[in-house]
Symmetry: C2
Subunit: 247 residues, 2 copies
């Protein structure tokens, strides 16, 4: 019946279109709203039609991760020339460090654009083995490994840097996005944070510090932490060219 309503029913769907709709739905109404039926409705299609483009709902979640990293890669590409323009001004740090910083920033940026996807990005790799990760993830990882390799690090060190980077970036964003506000309608700060629920005798420091959570500068701390983590490492042979590391 629906096929009569819409004469151009052929080729309405495609994997990119499905993934884009999924991301949009999750952005708009949260992860819990992502349902095969709901997503199909958004696309003006019967639920089973989606199964031509995704093997299962689990695979659809992996599709979210795919879309996420595709966007990270995209952002990296578009910010590449700008980075090249800046490179003449401050060549004090080795390019591999600048590149890691750039990637961390792009990652953070995409997380802020799609905060609801973060839990999926954080936890899906726990279930899907490396070789089955979505292509954009593989590309980004390959890129990082090759940048570090070209900087002259040996294999174990490359691995350490990569994992350190991934852990810190992911952990930071996860902690940044933790819910602190309780009742967002409430005008009074203490009540908005729900602190009246915390017995003052048991949690004095918590009550004192939670209101200051908003003062925290996420991106600054992300970068600062990255710096201290990387400064522990043995210098790459080629770093000497650039003044021997961060200022």
């Amino acid at each position: 019946m629906a096929q009569r309503d819409n004469p151009a029913r052929r080729g309405r769907l495609s994997r990119p279109r499905v993934l884009a709709a999924a991301v949009a739905l999750v952005d708009r109404e949260g992860l819990a709203a992502l349902t095969m039926r709901r997503l199909a409705a958004d696309l003006g299609v019967e639920p089973m039609a989606l199964y031509r483009y995704t093997a299962s709902k689990e695979a659809l979640l992996d599709g979210l991760v795919e879309a996420f990293f595709a966007e990270v890669n995209e952002r990296l590409r578009t910010s590449a020339e700008q980075a090249r323009a800046d490179s003449g001004a401050a060549p004090v740090e080795p390019p591999w460090r600048a590149e890691l910083r750039r990637i961390a920033r792009a990652f953070a940026c995409v997380v802020h654009a799609h905060p609801e996807i973060l839990p999926v990005v954080a936890t899906r790799p726990l279930a899907v083995p490396v070789a089955r990760r979505p292509q954009p993830w593989l590309q980004l990882t390959e890129h990082m490994l090759s940048v570090l390799g070209r900087a002259g690090f040996d294999d174990p060190t490359v691995l350490t840097i990569y994992r350190t980077f991934a852990a810190w970036t992911l952990g930071c964003l996860l902690v940044d996005k933790r819910q602190v506000v309780d009742d967002s309608e409430e005008p009074d700060l203490m009540l908005r944070l729900g602190l009246h629920r915390l017995p003052a005798a048991d949690y004095p420091r918590l009550r004192a510090l939670v209101p200051r959570f908003s003062e925290y500068d996420d991106e600054r701390e992300l970068m600062a932490g990255l710096d201290s983590l990387l400064s522990r490492l043995p210098e790459a042979p080629l770093d000497a060219f650039y003044g021997g590391g961060a200022p």
Copy 2:
């Protein structure tokens, strides 16, 4: 009918019992197996009986987090006297650093005991506001904040250290537990990792490095990273007593 079979049907359940059964079920068969019906069956009870002890399935997930941190706290308590015994031997580092290290170790330990719960612990705080977090989480956080406060740090610094610690610890464990093996039945290493799926031309470094993932020493890197993150911070006034920080 079931009440005739079991004469002592009263008081079979309790919140701790329900949570323990949930943890056991998740440990045994994974998160996806955690179903109200299945959990009820494990407890020899009708599904709706669970709702006396948990408001919803979402609340049950928060219950998993509660059980998780209760176990962390428990492990901290039992390892306390051992730490006190060691303290005479190597008093070179300030107690707040030793305490953070101890907490990280306990956390990692519980994650290894219940790896399937990690995704819940990592992502639930994204949905539940601070003041509504389970009591064991509140206790642990209060403990950390108070230890840091007693060390002489001012409030913003306490917050920075706390968040840095949380981000790094969580990120590390998340990255450590990522699935790398594809087909665990396969004897050949390359095939077991599923690397034949990766086009050699596109992902040379990935193919070269993935086999070395197993060489990584998780706990060592966790502690090492923690050290470099904390060494960036301004020293606490009281650190002078202990030789001015880490060796």
